[in-house]
Symmetry: D2
Subunit: 369 residues, 4 copies
């Protein structure tokens, strides 16, 4: 990346919760400059400040207030090399496909393409190497693409969990069992999202589709890429060392920050001690840092020694929400090790991940700029 | 129990949170009549309405308002056959021992005697049979006791968990692994208890001593009573079929009702199906029901079919808080079966358990009245 | 009302929040028996348990579970003498008018007819005498009606305020200024109502239309009925002693129970003392009590002496939510007297008011049964 | 203030809630450098990170972590020119007096000296001119002081209210009546402060002493300084134009940010229109800005046009918490004008005020540095 070079980007679903986060982050980004905004036809034709029901604690960036909102059609984004998508799943599929076909690099927070065998599902602090599938994605497209592609990031609850797991697999080899119970913030459901009558003074022990996402996405993200008989690359879903994942997902009355109680069993016997686990987590440094992604956290995982941390209200702003906080690393009487991990679902769990993914793609030359 | 017979009882720690619950429940009890109230020397000599900082949603029962509060000394409770103790752990040990020595039957919500090898730790819907240790407790006392004894009930988070587990062990034989993650209400910490600055918009992933209690108490409660070589009975701690328990305890912003995500592995292969588990839970009927304890729930466990239940706000009043609610019974990818259980920590998790325990003792003739 | 006589009733908007409250209350009512349920065409044809997203802490009454839900057309309610309407304002107008035209007595919680010059707006503990407008309402209908009429109850925030004001005007004569600031519960907005992201850790100092309702409804309710020149009765809007009302309405993170800070100035000089006000509130006994309405509170207003009451969580269940709680009666440095009033918005502020209104109509012979 | 000059300061009550805020703010202050920390004897001798139960969302500043905490005795603060006091009222009186007697400039957040006739009570965006009483405070001390003095800032709820009132008195002349109802955050009560069982799903319509503080402090702050017959200056308590103040104070489940519903009557007839009020608020610029206080907000009052603002969660960070947000400016049916004001109680309502007061004292030459 040349010093001072700027890349024009668009935001799809710009008026929604994730879109607002994209705008807040991109407005101060050193490389990416917002050039176009897309939303539903209801918003199209309005200035952004009129179209959006802004819910952030900082005002709408001055450079964005008066930008016109367009429909989510590639014709309005021709100056952009990259689009970030905060679209809802019910429309994301067709729109993101159309932008890819129009030779745009799409970084999506939606679930629609996560299970696509040629689309990488990337948690930027974990599996940046999966960007290597993109040439195949472009080649298999009809007609083959030169610049267009889709990269997805993971579900917010998956993201928090796989970061420490990646650190531990790097240090101690494969994990064979994962049992995770989440306590997820209301902002994970978007706006208006969870009705206040459903969550005040309450826990809802169910989030539709969430457990399936965690159980499946974890395997794709922590797995590798294999060469199959037909000459194509495939995601191996951690199949060289099968990993069983059991997730229980709960909604709790917390605004931002997903807290997860994690128990794991390693393949290796004897397993590492809690202290070895703490050390491996603390020193973990992913590619995104080494490569110099500007939005990557300076430090990925903080390991708390205090017995009552991490807590969402105190720890969700760690590294501006781009890092994760781990605490209570201790032995598990049933599996090997258990700990608590906290990740900011609206930052590293959503928009921040998409942006670091795009930074990785720039630094690895996947985006020609 | 003869029709119409009444038993005079006392309440220790009468001004505290658990004490207020005892008073609310006992004021309408068909057998027990409050005769004496004990609290700290700061409260002694005052009328109850002056001494207590009453925090219940129903007023102080009219019959109790003007009762004089005494210090917790047996001399003020000579008319009572039974005392219920809601004392804090820092004073409960000595006081409860003194009341037992004074030939009173003590039903305690405190933790002090739970690990005593001659004191039964009874969840009334689970292990009423453990009352059989009482003659030994009385005999080994110096001097031997005729009427005095101590029965404890379990920690509130343990209670919710062991009730469905007892139902499942009864139906399908021993459980060999239990992994439980709790989301506990603030009322479990008493008053003033949890500071609002610590829990609003937050989760605290730690409750001092709670995980150890769950991991130990579960074994004592679900285990049996064995005859040891020296002719004494001992609690076998589930040792005939070792049970590994791993608990992760969290405080969440919920007023009443502990929600727990439970995963278990049975010894038996193949394990029961989710549907078999649902049926076994729904038909479970403990001794306390068969014997006719007036405070026992008419039905012990309700099994929800809706995917998003149980929820503390909607389900904590099931059976006036004396029953437990289970939902989301499904396969666990790591162990065998997982489900969610909700128990009202201030009812079956505390005062209601003590009272049913006393009812059991009356019906089994352990209290001579 | 003859002993044992029963009146068949219908519920319109039966699946909504207010409808669920009507059903919960009517299922145990001594006179009224639910005979028919009405909801939108989406629910019509389903059993109630299938149609309703039940959110009460007690289960659906057994007698109602399997009742078929109909569209809100009079033809399905021909066996009923009375219908209770919990309809949303966007449909309530036409439907309630149709039911009146079909000779049904309609007791509505909706706002649509509150400003109608021939429809009484009745807070049952305040202005039962306004039922006297009903013959005129029937006579002016085209064609004139024999049994059909509409009675509305007030907005939930108005209700809590006018009950103590009525007591004070009865004791001390007209009030000339009222300044009220409300802190209203989320349940006042129905379901799904307030988004959790809008109200957790927050106050919203605005509720659309609420201040206008309070400022207008208070005058109609506390005013009398005058004879106008054309021989018709009219609501005098408190015009004999003009009353200025200024309301500021806020939404706060409370589930049930509206708290209101009230300051008033009396016409009479010198004004009553705080102690005189307390006494007048405590002894207030409305017609609904004297007549023996079964759902009327045994005592209308409780006056707290403790400095920190009333509080919604502790006091909203007073008299099963049919009474109101007043506290902190003291001098106001700007007007004369200020106090805090708490009313349960889902009980006396909604369904309970409609039901007592119907009871009043039965006891006063307005409903011929 | 010379460029680059630094002033050594101390923090009293350094481990408490206000103390933690002082440390967070002072660690990045351009002039003030923390040199000494004082707390109770329980903390004395420990490093700050050991002594403090740190509850901020940013970590303890690196420069402070290992500072030794001392007892609050002047001998440990000899290098300091200024001390900031976050002491609790039960100890603040004696300690602050001792520091003043030791020739230190004390800027206190405690209430103890607010009513002292020679101590200024300063909201820095309102009455910086009251610093002129300090020479008299020093002269009347026995023995007379050269550098020592005490300046207090106001109660957090008073602060939010008087800022817009000062703007309005400046524009439209004296206000003669003020009726204010507050909805105050839990952080206003310190830590542990409000018990979660008292405030979750609740409103507490009482804060001990708060209404008296608002009613009295408002007069001292908005009043002027008069020359009395004995040659001394006195605070005139707004007596030239008597101002009646009636406050109703409530605690609500909000973490930070006090929301206040304000109604006022001006002396001037006719009163200004809502639009004139909006304009006067928006252009208000206090001395602290003109003088260049580094911690003063760039803009003091933002006036919202949206009907549902300000809201604590969205607006409490305005100007890093140093500005206030006003909305809903409209006519009052009883007095003249009503509006809603939001102020961040932990920033401009506490530590930020003390710091700007000290900046004012430096810029006005009251502190000789």
């Amino acid at each position: 990346m040349q010093e001072g070079r700027q890349i024009k980007v668009g935001v799809l679903g710009a008026t929604g919760t994730v879109g607002q986060r994209f705008i807040t982050l991109l407005a101060v980004h050193p490389w990416f400059v917002i050039d176009a905004l897309g939303a539903s036809s209801r918003s199209a034709g309005k200035s952004y400040s009129k179209a959006a029901n802004w819910k952030q604690t900082t005002p709408i960036p001055a450079s964005i207030r008066d930008l016109m909102v367009h429909e989510c059609k590639p014709e309005y984004f021709l100056n952009c090399a990259v689009v970030f998508s905060g679209l809802d799943a019910d429309v994301a599929g067709d729109i993101e496909a159309a932008f890819r076909a129009a030779e745009l690099a799409v970084f999506s927070n939606a679930k629609n393409f996560r299970r696509d065998p040629h689309v990488p599902l990337i948690v930027p602090l974990v599996n940046a190497s999966h960007l290597s599938i993109i040439p195949q994605q472009q080649l298999l497209h009809s007609p083959p693409l030169k610049k267009g592609f889709i990269v997805t990031n993971a579900n917010c609850s998956t993201t928090g969990c796989v970061i420490p797991l990646a650190a531990l697999e790097k240090a101690f080899g494969p994990i064979e069992s994962l049992l995770v119970t989440t306590m997820q913030a209301i902002s994970g459901a978007g706006y208006p999202g969870v009705a206040s009558l459903d969550i005040m003074d309450n826990v809802v022990p169910y989030i539709g589709g969430e457990e399936e996402k965690m159980e499946w996405e974890t395997l794709k993200i922590l797995g590798g890429i294999a060469d199959s008989d037909d000459g194509l690359k495939t995601f191996d879903m951690h199949s060289r060392h099968p990993l069983r994942v059991s997730a229980s997902c709960n909604r709790v009355p917390v605004i931002d920050g997903h807290t997860e109680c994690v128990s794991i069993r390693f393949a290796r016997r004897p397993p590492p001690s809690p202290q070895q686990v703490r050390e491996a987590l603390a020193v973990f440094s992913p590619d995104a840092q080494a490569l110099g992604c500007p939005s990557a956290p300076r430090r990925t995982i903080v390991v708390h020694e205090e017995p009552d941390r991490p807590q969402p209200r105190l720890d969700r702003y760690y590294q501006d929400g781009a890092g994760v906080s781990v605490g209570r690393v201790r032995q598990c009487q049933v599996l090997d090790i258990k700990f608590v991990v906290l990740a900011n679902n609206v930052s590293i769990g959503a928009a921040t991940s998409s942006i670091i993914n795009a930074e990785l793609a720039v630094l690895k030359g996947v985006i020609s700029g």
